[in-house]
């Protein structure tokens, strides 16, 4: 087996001095997609924030290791992180509007990353930015480039954020509930975009979601979290078709009514 | 009302009240406990340092600094209170009226308050004092008028917040008169805000009074005031560099106590709005906060 791109090893995360994630472990191979599922409070978002090195205030990694391409990033300094973020790891989040600076045009925020991380000059950055926006399926990309976040819809903003995320050509994309805040039709489009990008760029994906249908569509393997512990993990089809753990069984049963069958058997 | 009582129990509030109580007592009985006549000139002790006879020393014509401070307190505090009282009257009532008595009044009063806010305090007070006869009452009339927009805005903001509140609506349904609603429901909610604003306005007015009397506006020279004492000390700094310390400290401590009291009440009522900072156009902070909330 290839050496994993991301290896989470017995990760403990503490909030306010009390452990809330108790030894989560999983490996992510290059090009693979893993879904981290569980209900709210299961520790999936904290795990994901810890992997990105941006735990919320008062939250710390209290034990274990997070190895990115073999290096433990859990003790990284800000400077070390800034070298890794962009070319190695990038992220998109729930509620895209809040992750863009409200007083800068979206294009300026994309240009900034291209200039700082990829060393492009102002003009080249703009050209590349418009290309990227176009390849995200945004119509009239030049126009979108010069708009402020409040002028764009949630789906468009998430495409912009995905463009920013892939602009540094990362190995790993961490997506924390990327479609939860979007309309159902827009959800499907954004999921298709992520799937297409995976195929095009050999992007590894760590997808955090409470929605098994989303995970079923995008992920090769599933890790089920409950109360900060892994209760079950394995290939997506196996886990969803034949869950071993009673909690997973409950999750799957809860999701049947949302059309999970249709997606799994497609 | 509960919030006000709660605030008074906090330690900084107690300290502030103690200081203010002391100032009021000094103001009330200052001239009876003053060791000398504030105008008496002791030619044998000019610009003297602190001593057993003159606790705070003497000024450039040998007048007792402590006695002048005590006498000056009354003038300064009464003048500031006059201005704040007028500001309250001219601010709170139109503020309530602008919410409950129709759009015409609302529009007119907003424009007038905007106009008043563009007037710089000190220069306007100087102008009024001069044009209406050089007296402290005239100057305080001007300051009171300029304080009105602050009271107007906080009252109006509190009342607008309440306009949609259910119990006010219910009151209207039950046929209560508008004036009765204002009196019983709104007043209780507006009161803490007004008290906070009064304290900060009092602090501001004291500063303005001191500034004006420092400039010699509103008082005839021999009469003692906090600002006037500082002005006369200014000419003799080389002989008596610590002369301004006593009047300056008195001003600073009183103002600090008023601000501390305002903060304590504000904390206790959970009213985050800074009452002292009244914007030129209310739209500015509104637009910001709206954008931040988005």
């Amino acid at each position: 087996m290839q050496s994993p791109l991301l290896s989470v090893d017995d990760l403990h995360v503490a909030a306010g001095g009390v452990d809330v994630v108790h030894g989560v472990s999983f490996d992510l191979a290059p090009g693979e997609a893993i879904g981290l599922v569980g209900e709210s409070g299961s520790g999936k978002t904290l795990t994901c924030r810890a992997i990105l090195g941006v735990p919320p205030p008062g939250v710390t990694v209290s034990g274990g290791a997070i190895r990115l391409a073999g290096e433990d990033v859990s003790r990284y300094s800000r400077r070390q992180w800034d070298r890794v973020r962009g070319p190695r790891v990038a992220a998109v989040f729930q509620d895209p509007a809040s992750y863009l600076n409200p007083s800068l045009t979206v294009g300026r925020q994309l240009d900034e990353v291209l200039r700082v991380k990829n060393g492009l000059d102002r003009r080249a950055a703009r050209t590349r930015a418009v290309e990227l926006l176009a390849s995200m399926g945004l119509h009239r990309p030049e126009h979108v480039h010069d708009q402020y976040p409040y002028e764009l819809s949630g789906g468009m903003l998430q495409r912009v954020l995905i463009a920013i995320a892939v602009s540094g050509d990362p190995d790993l994309l961490v997506a924390d509930e990327p479609t939860t805040a979007l309309d159902v039709t827009v959800q499907a489009e954004v999921l298709d975009l992520i799937a297409a990008l995976r195929a095009e760029r050999r992007l590894s994906l760590l997808l955090v979601s409470h929605d098994l249908a989303v995970v079923a569509q995008l992920c090769d393997r599933v890790v089920v979290l409950r109360h900060g512990r892994v209760v079950e993990s394995g290939p997506t089809r196996r886990v969803l078709d034949d869950p071993a753990d009673p909690y997973t069984r409950q999750l799957v049963a809860d999701h049947r009514e949302y059309g999970l069958d249709r997606l799994v058997t497609r | 009302m509960r919030a006000l009582r709660l605030a008074v129990r906090l330690r900084p509030a107690k300290l502030a009240l103690a200081v203010l109580g002391l100032v009021v007592v000094l103001m009330a009985v200052g001239d009876t406990i003053a060791p000398y006549d504030p105008l008496h000139q002791d030619t044998t002790a000019i610009l003297a340092g602190p001593s057993a006879e003159h606790w705070l020393g003497t000024d450039y014509v040998g007048r007792d600094v402590l006695s002048r401070l005590l006498a000056g307190s009354r003038l300064s505090v009464v003048a500031a209170a006059e201005a704040v009282g007028l500001g309250l009257l001219l601010g709170v009532l139109p503020g309530l009226a602008s919410v409950y008595f129709g759009r015409v009044f609302e529009w007119l009063s907003l424009r007038v308050m905007d106009g008043l806010m563009a007037l710089p305090f000190i220069i306007f007070a100087i102008a009024v004092a001069a044009l209406l006869g050089n007296g402290l009452h005239q100057a305080m009339f001007a300051v009171g008028v300029l304080l009105a927009p602050t009271f107007y805005r906080v009252t109006r903001a509190a009342a607008i917040g309440l306009r949609q509140a259910q119990y006010v609506e219910a009151g209207t349904l039950f046929g209560a008169t508008r004036w009765r609603i204002v009196r019983t429901h709104v007043w209780q909610k507006v009161l803490p805000t007004v008290v906070v604003t009064t304290a900060t306005a009092m602090a501001g007015a004291l500063l303005v009074v001191s500034s004006l009397t420092f400039l010699g506006i509103g008082v005839q020279p021999p009469a003692p005031t906090w600002g006037g004492m500082l002005a006369s000390d200014l000419g003799y700094l080389t002989q008596r560099p610590f002369g301004p310390v006593a009047p300056a400290l008195l001003i600073i401590v009183t103002v600090a106590a008023l601000n501390a009291l305002a903060d304590a009440i504000r904390d206790a009522t959970g009213d985050g709005a800074p009452a002292s900072a009244a914007p030129l156009h209310e739209e500015v902070p509104d637009a910001i906060s709206a954008a931040v909330r988005r």
């Binding site: 990105l52 941006v54 800034d82 973020r85 989040f93 992750y99 863009l100 409200p102 007083s103 800068l104 990353v113 991380k117 402020y148 976040p149 409040y150 995320a165 540094g168 | 007038v112 905007d114 106009g115 563009a118 007037l119 710089p120 000190i122 220069i123 306007f124 100087i126 102008a127 009024v128 004092a129 001069a130 044009l131 209406l132 050089n134 500063l207 001191s210 500034s211 420092f214 010699g216 506006i217 500082l230 200014l234 700094l237 301004p244 600073i252 103002v255 600090a256 601000n259 900072a277 009244a278 030129l280 156009h281 739209e283 500015v284 637009a287 910001i288 709206a290 954008a291 931040v292 988005r294």
Partner: protein, 317 residues
């Protein structure tokens, strides 16, 4: 385009404000029983003198007509003549305005520099010793009136350690160095209160903004700390501070009047005070009008700055 739009809207709001406040100003002059003869000749003025001078200064015309003439002339830069010296008011103001503006502008600059440094430093160390020190010092400074601070500065830096002059003024044409030397103490005295308030507002604004998702987003994109703070957080966190700065500009202009008296500088304050004590109505009205205009111009500038800072806020004034 956006900026131009903002200027337009702000100016539109300023016009009625200017009219109302100048009307109040002018009305005061008319209400007073001051007249040019009394101002110039005092008790010796006869009724004939009063009538003659009243006619000469146009005071025998109806009030509204006089206001219209006054405001019309003011637009063209004519503020009338002093009742006392008969020197054009605009000329007197023109001589003294640079002094007051120098003090106010330097104070504003100092306030922004000191306030921004303290506020940003405090926000980045929220809860640390620097943060607590900034909070304590700014609370203390905001209770000290500018003229008391001025006296304290004179005592320390002119009397005890004589490094700065205790008062006076030289224009920059006689050397920028001496000019700054004379301005430094008054400007520092005037700036303290504004610097303290600015630091407080900036700290609060930035602490809030640094918790926003888009700041986390910028960090995750691998942008450096300086870029995140100055390029992303400050732009949004500075809004309330800029608004507060707008409120302080009138205070600085008013405060300059007091401060220049402390430091015996020939500015607008001296003109207004002497004019006031002499009952020289045109001088007082003219000074007030210029002060109002300065306040309104600065409020327009602040509103435009806010609009540029946060284009998304929609309403600009």
């Amino acid at each position: 385009m956006r900026a131009l739009h903002a200027v337009g809207r702000a100016a539109l709001i300023a016009v009625p404000v200017l009219l109302i406040s100048t009307f109040i100003t002018f009305g005061l002059g008319a209400l007073s029983d001051q007249n040019p003869a009394a101002a110039a000749m005092g008790e010796t003025a006869t009724q004939a003198d009063i009538d003659r001078l009243n006619h000469e200064f146009g005071l025998d015309r109806p009030f509204l007509e006089r206001y219209a003439t006054w405001i019309g002339d003011a637009v063209t830069g004519d503020l009338g003549r002093s009742w006392f010296t008969h020197i054009p008011v605009a000329e007197s103001i023109g001589q003294r305005l640079p002094v007051s503006l120098s003090i106010a502008a330097l104070a504003l600059l100092l306030a922004v520099v000191l306030g921004a440094a303290a506020g940003i430093g405090a926000a980045l160390n929220a809860g640390g010793w620097f943060d607590r020190a900034v909070t304590a010092v700014s609370a203390a400074l905001s209770t000290i009136p500018a003229f008391v601070a001025g006296i304290a500065l004179i005592v320390v830096f002119s009397v005890l350690i004589p490094v700065f002059p205790a008062g006076g003024y030289v224009p920059p044409s006689q050397g920028v160095g001496p000019w700054l030397t004379y301005l430094m103490l008054p400007a520092v005295a005037l700036s303290l209160d504004s610097a303290a308030d600015l630091a407080r507002q900036l700290r609060t604004g930035l602490v809030g903004t640094l918790r926003e998702n888009y700041v986390t987003g910028a960090v995750v994109r691998g942008l450096g700390p300086r870029r995140v703070v100055f390029g992303h957080a400050l732009r949004n966190g500075a809004g309330p501070a800029v608004a507060v700065l707008g409120l302080h500009v009138p205070r600085l202009i008013g405060g300059a009047v007091i401060t220049e008296t402390v430091f015996a500088m020939p500015g607008l304050g001296q003109l207004a005070t002497t004019g006031a004590l002499q009952g020289d109505v045109p001088v007082v009205q003219g000074t007030l009008l210029v002060a109002i205009a300065l306040v309104l111009v600065s409020s327009v500038v602040v509103n435009v700055a806010l609009a540029r800072l946060r284009p998304g806020s929609g309403r600009t004034v």
